[in-house]
């Protein structure tokens, strides 16, 4: 399977990465190279094999449903590129 230029643009859009037109051919070649190499997995018989999820064998623990942290607006906002009061500021979203 080979990715065309339109698919590269679609994936870049999904990933929220701006891709200039002149970058498309290079990305297309690189991604197709990598995906072609990955394709060899299709040769493995995985019938009936349960997919592994996560890196360990531990069952995820539960903890009491109580507040453990909070009231740290200034620490949370300390690295914000832009803020308005105790909120993150972004360009106008709704007209």
């Amino acid at each position: 399977m080979s990715l065309d230029a339109a698919t590269i643009r679609r994936v870049a859009n999904l990933a929220r990465l701006r891709v200039e037109d002149d970058e498309v051919p290079r990305l297309q070649a690189e991604l197709n190279g990598i995906l072609g190499w990955i394709e060899q997995l299709q040769a493995v018989d995985t019938t009936g094999v349960e997919a592994m999820s996560g890196g360990g064998d531990a069952i995820l623990p539960l903890r009491p449903d109580v507040v453990t942290d909070g009231g740290q607006a200034e620490a949370v906002l300390a690295n914000a590129p832009d803020r308005a009061g105790v909120f993150f500021a972004v360009p106008k979203v709704v007209e």
Binding site: L3, G33, L41, G55, P61
Partner: protein
């Protein structure tokens, strides 16, 4: 003896005996960094004043009889660990001047035990790379040089290239590092030092900038097996803030370094014998087998049949997890922002300007394999093959107690050598990536030099949560190898 040439264990004894103070030890390392770092670029940030203040506090604690297990030991911290009040970059432009308001659990554990942080070590951007060439803060030079061409700069390996180069060049007694596909072991092998990736869940991932959450694991880099054991004991331990952190006692890993390998069964996997492998690597592997045999271990041929599928599996799982972990870099809450016409344009411009080429490549691959219509064919398939790789190890460990392999398929290569060929770069991790996929502990030990005088490592893989056997076997190899060569660039 130069203060920077102590082993970590040796420095602890010297501090305890009053032969040196923590301030003197820290000053010596800061001086070494000043002299050598401009050449090798192992540190992104040096925190000299804070280090000296921490060293003074350590000397005070020792005077009051309150010295912790790492009291006064100067360390380098990979710039992937969040450090409260100290800029943390992950080697990326997109984090800008991010200053974490919190401390990662691993570094907090080290501070609890009295360690002194010299600064933040360089790395591949978001820990994605095997050469440290993808760092937005410039590459790191390997302190080792080829015998026949001292002028050529070699890569230190990656992604923990700054950690490995700093420890090899005597700029720190040890370092923290992380390993997602080989990022502790491969740079340790390239720089002639020791690195261990413990079992998944042994060290908390809380406060470590995430790359691929089911594979990422923190571990130490140091110059001896015992030093890495001392560091790992402090770094490890259960943490309720990481749901995958294991609720297990942390053993005395250093004690395991002094046990005998007599009677241990050492597995040698047939599938790690690659066609294109340099003869020197094969010879070193054979030598390692002979050393362990001479110490009374029994060598057992084993089979890990799905080995050849490990790298392609990794290059689905890791980018998939990376693409979702890196979605948080949106130019809104922290890090850099590039203004846009609207919010989406702001996201896209920020991410295009903030991420480097390799990170973008992996985000694109990850987004694609997780996208509608391809999820089963790629992601689920890869997680199934991953289960088979793990099963291979479970089967093999019925017949052996540890597995011996080479650490890397080559010695350190020259800067720029593999930058234009992503797959050739990825192949660096062919021997290391299986331990990440299966969550097992694995260590690289310097075991010899190639014809160019460059270090080569042997890898020991153990059962889950059996780092102790890995330390026992690693220490036996270290004793047998008597690796005493020193890098050309050194403080």
């Amino acid at each position: 003896m130069e203060a920077t040439h102590f082993s970590l264990a040796g420095a602890l004894s010297a501090l305890e005996e009053g032969l040196i103070s923590a301030v003197e030890l820290t000053e010596a390392h800061l001086k070494a960094i000043e002299a050598v770092n401009p050449q090798i670029n192992a540190f992104i940030t040096v925190t000299a004043e804070a280090a000296l203040a921490a060293a003074r506090a350590a000397d005070d604690r020792r005077a009051q009889g309150e010295a912790g297990p790492l009291n006064g030991i100067p360390l380098a911290i990979k710039d992937l660990f969040c450090t409260q009040g100290v800029r943390t970059t992950a080697g990326s432009r997109i984090l800008g001047d991010f200053v974490p308001p919190y401390e990662s659990t691993v570094t907090k554990n080290l501070l609890r035990d009295g360690a002194v942080f010299l600064g933040k070590a360089n790395l591949d951007e978001f820990a994605m790379g095997s050469s440290n060439e993808t760092s937005a803060f410039g590459g790191v030079q390997n302190p080792w040089r080829r015998r026949d061409n001292q002028g050529v700069a070699l890569v230190p390996g990656g992604s923990s290239g700054g950690s490995a180069a700093a420890v090899a060049a005597r700029l720190a007694l040890g370092a923290t590092a992380t390993d997602t596909g080989g990022s502790i072991r491969q740079p340790a092998a390239f720089c002639g030092i020791v690195g261990i990736k413990p079992t998944y869940g042994r060290c908390s991932r809380w406060g470590i900038v995430a790359f691929a959450s089911s594979l990422d694991q923190a571990g130490p880099i140091a110059r001896t097996v015992e030093d890495s054991a001392i560091l790992l004991r402090s770094m490890a331990g259960h943490d309720p803030k990481d749901s995958t952190s294991a609720e297990r006692e942390v053993p005395d890993f250093a004690a395991a370094c002094h046990r005998s390998v007599k009677g241990l069964r050492i597995g040698v996997p047939a599938e790690y014998r690659l066609d294109a492998m340099p003869a020197e690597i094969q010879a070193l592997w054979d030598q390692g087998i002979a050393w362990l045999k001479a110490e009374g271990a029994r060598i057992v041929p084993i089979s890990l049949p799905h080995t050849k599928y490990a790298l392609p599996t990794y290059y689905i799982v890791a980018p998939a997890e990376a693409s979702s972990n890196l979605a948080r870099y949106d130019g809104v809450r922290f890090g850099m922002r590039v203004p846009g016409e609207d919010l989406k344009d702001l996201y896209e411009r920020t991410r295009a300007a903030g991420f480097g080429a390799e990170v973008k490549r992996r985000i694109m691959i990850g987004t694609y394999v997780l996208s509608a219509g391809y999820y089963d064919a790629y992601y689920v398939k890869a997680q199934q093959v991953r289960a088979l790789i793990r099963r291979d190890f479970e089967t093999a460990f019925a017949d052996c107690d540890a597995i011996l392999t080479p650490s890397t398929p080559s010695a350190a290569f020259a800067s720029g050598d593999k930058q234009d060929d992503p797959i050739a770069m990825y192949l660096n991790d062919v021997f290391t990536v299986t331990a990440n996929l299966s969550g097992l502990p694995a260590m690289s030990i310097p075991a010899g030099l190639d014809a160019q005088g460059l270090p080569l490592g042997l890898q020991v893989i153990g059962r889950g949560f059996d780092e102790e056997t890995v330390f026992t076997v690693g220490a036996a190899i270290e004793r047998a190898a008597g690796f005493s060569a020193l890098p050309q660039v050194m403080a």
